[in-house]
Amino acid sequence: MAKPKKSTGSKKTDAQDGRADRLVARGHHDMGGLPAGRVEPSEHDYAEWERRVDALMVLLSGVKGGPPRMTVDELRKNIEAIGPEAYDKMSYYERWVTSITQTMIQRGVITTDELGRRMEEVRARREAACKK
């Protein structure tokens, strides 16, 4: 899909003046119309883990049958909750897997403790493999 060309530094319009006093204004993700560089379209193949994250979302949303365990709106909510610095650093599917994980914690499918311990296990396994 062709990405829309971003505006090259649009001035604020009258309707959006006088908003500086708001504690909550524009979400970091909601960047439409903000100054940005050129959009350079490029093709790339997906890594195996990216395909798995996509499949995970398909299964959890229940569109292939089975109980729905999350909505695409929760995916968006938890992507939007990622801190600005991390949001900019992460790739598309890194944001997805972060959001899916957060949603599974919120929904009680996994606990924070289970997640932390499993991540330690995986790290230990990788470090052991690297030492060999």
């Binding site: 001035k11 009258d14 309707a15 524009r26 709106d73 939007e80 919120q106």
Partner: protein, 112 residues
Amino acid sequence: MQKVAAAAGGQYPTRYPAVAVRFAPGDRVRVRDSAPLGHIRTPFYIRGHVGVIERYCGAFPNPEELAQMRDGLPAQPLYRVRFLQRDVWADYPGPREDTIDIEIFQHWLERT
């Protein structure tokens, strides 16, 4: 249960109980200039702007509620709203008649 399909002339049946359709194609509407917390599908850059209803798209569970693990019912009517690019962007360089269409839920729109 409000029959949205009937209100829309039978064109877009909905599976959900929905709130009544308030706008028809051609109506001028203003997007609410609001910035609440939570997941919001109305882009920031269009809030406060005036457009015209281009079409009714059906009624869907409110994504703001779905994002918070609730059912989003009654469903909210969704419209495609047409804006003039030069109204939205103060320094828009393209032709004066250029438009942008955005799909916006009814609770974000008010009659002008």
